[in-house]
């Protein structure tokens, strides 16, 4: 039987895959008030790759995302984002880099006094370089990506949890970032809504070739991402053939006691003999 052609190759990609790493962590240490959170963490995320981070609560998963965005500074080690060493970068320099890196926070973190339109357009409005008409078009485009065009005039308090996450994704992608960081995007959501969110993440990976770090507690979400692709012709997520599982740019990173205990793809994960990991994924 011949190797199946991955259907995600259908149609031209919006952004061509690039060689090299989008994100590099080298021996990163971090402690809060004498409590060690990260102890010599090292990993890489290649351009176009999505890496799912697992670990028990308090293992420093969300902290890694904040470090990748420069919202926190490491005690030691080196962090390189899109070729720039951000370890000692000042806040003003980071503001420029953050235009190329987006984050979806755990609880969406939408500005509750602003409408959906103002939330999604926040960065463009703040920069003040784009005309009102273009802002409106880009807001519509971003909201259409998450299929929430009709909510444009609503306040975040009028949206459901899943809708808030999708608006947060729209707010993040409006400037077409090259790296996306997702902090438990499906946490606390029902399975149907979770699947919608995962479909959007897969769409970003397969259609736009965005590099991503995804923190999650839900192992099934990451497995779905490793076994599905986004079909641009039908505009929906579809399962890969069984012998093509893991043939999408999807990796797994497992943290334990501040250390990386696993960093590999779906096949490596299935073959691991580590008792803790086997128990974790079972």
């Amino acid at each position: 039987m011949s190797t199946p052609t991955l259907p995600i190759d259908y149609g031209p990609a919006i952004q061509e895959p690039r060689s090299g790493d989008a994100l590099v962590f080298e021996n990163v240490d971090l402690a809060f008030e004498n409590k060690v959170i990260l102890d010599g963490i090292s990993f890489r995320v290649a351009h176009g790759e999505t890496k799912a981070i697992f670990g028990v609560a308090g293992s420093g998963k969300s902290t890694i995302l904040k470090l990748a965005l420069g919202l926190l500074k490491p005690d030691a080690g080196r962090i390189v984002v899109l070729g720039q060493d951000i370890t000692h970068m000042g806040e003003d320099e980071l503001f420029d880099l953050r235009r190329r890196v987006g984050i979806v926070f755990q609880e969406s973190a939408l500005f509750d006094s602003l409408t959906v339109r103002e939330n999604v357009a926040f960065r463009l409005l703040e920069e003040g370089k784009v005309s009102d008409q273009e802002i409106e078009e880009r807001v519509r485009e971003a909201l259409s990506f998450v299929e929430l065009e009709k909510t444009v005039d609503l306040l975040p308090s009028e949206l459901s949890g899943g809708m808030r996450r999708r608006v947060a994704i729209a707010r993040t992608i409006i400037t077409h970032p090259e790296v996306l960081l997702y902090d438990s995007p499906t946490g606390g959501l029902d399975p149907v809504t979770s699947n919608t969110i995962i479909e959007l993440v897969v769409k970003q990976r397969d259609v736009y070739k965005i590099s991503s770090l995804l923190v999650t507690h839900r192992l099934q979400d990451a497995f779905t991402m490793a076994t599905h692709y986004f079909d641009r012709t039908e505009n929906k997520m579809k399962p890969l053939p069984p012998d093509a599982h893991g043939m999408v740019p999807m990796c797994f990173l497992i943290l334990r006691d501040g250390h990386v205990i696993f960093d590999g793809d779906l096949q490596n994960l299935k073959e691991t003999k580590d008792e803790y990991i086997r128990e974790y994924i079972s």
């Binding site: 926070f105 973190a109 509750d112 926040f122 960065r123 703040e126």
Partner: protein, 259 residues
């Protein structure tokens, strides 16, 4: 409650003072560096200034009236009841007007700022703002500092006026004094140093209220309980600071103005 060593406690306090000082300096340097958020400043001025107007006016009016009542007893003993206008005028313009307006605005707005910014911290909205390329000290802190300083200045002027009116109501209605003579003595006794002192204080107090409110808000830790704690601490700290700083500002201005 978690117990910490005295050394650690001192270290935390020094760190807090340092963070507060840095935030205060940034709130001013942001005015030079930009971007400047005029719409946010105007919105805050409306919330802080016009929102506090009725309670500042009421507090000053009744304090002026009470000051006149209390002074009347002593002045009558010396047969100097006609000096009541002078006494109320000096007391309100130099001291009570600015301090009362400051305390009222601190109670109302330092708590508001701490709870609003604290809620934004615990819901990660501050992190989101930074992630979206906006400096929270420029968008949230500086507009609040500018609008509080600006509005407290004018609230104090109006508060002074209402305090004098309160004194006038008591002196004319209850004490039977001539209203024109009250206003005449109240006006003539005021010197430049009195007015300057009375109008310099709200600038300092406004800065204290806004920076303390924002500092406690942005330092919030620990969910909704932390927001409540930050709110209470902001009100207590700003009120105490106003009262303590008032003594030093008064003495400093007395030396500077030779009053």
């Amino acid at each position: 409650m978690e117990f910490i060593s005295p050394g650690e406690w001192v270290k935390q306090k020094v760190q807090s003072v340092q963070d507060y000082a840095l935030l205060s300096v940034r709130s001013i340097t942001n005015l030079i560096i930009g971007p400047r958020y005029l719409a946010d400043t105007t919105q805050q001025a409306d919330l802080i200034g016009f929102g506090s107007l009725p309670i500042v006016l009421a507090a000053c009016f009744f304090t002026g009236a009470a000051l006149a009542l209390n002074s009347a007893t002593t002045l009558t003993r010396f047969g100097a009841l006609t000096l009541i206008g002078q006494l109320v005028s000096i007391g309100i313009v130099r001291e009570l007007g600015p301090v009362l307006a400051g305390l009222v605005v601190a109670g109302r707005n330092a708590s508001g700022m701490a709870s609003e910014l604290g809620s934004m911290v615990v819901t990660e909205q501050i992190d989101a703002m930074r992630a979206l390329g906006t400096d929270p000290t420029k968008k949230l802190v500086t507009p609040r500092v500018v609008s509080t300083v600006f509005m407290l200045f004018f609230l104090t002027i109006l508060g002074d006026l209402l305090g004098l009116i309160g004194g006038n109501v008591v002196s004319s209605v209850l004490l039977g004094l001539d209203s024109r003579s009250y206003w005449s003595s109240a006006w003539q006794t005021l010197e430049f140093s009195d007015v300057f002192m009375g109008l310099a204080k709200p600038v300092v107090f406004g800065f204290i209220i806004a920076t303390i409110g924002c500092y406690y808000g942005l330092s919030t830790r620990g969910g909704t309980q932390g927001v409540g704690r930050a709110t209470t601490e902001a009100v207590v700290a700003s009120m105490i600071l106003i009262i303590v700083v008032d003594v030093f500002v008064t003495r400093l201005l007395m030396i500077a103005l030779g009053a």
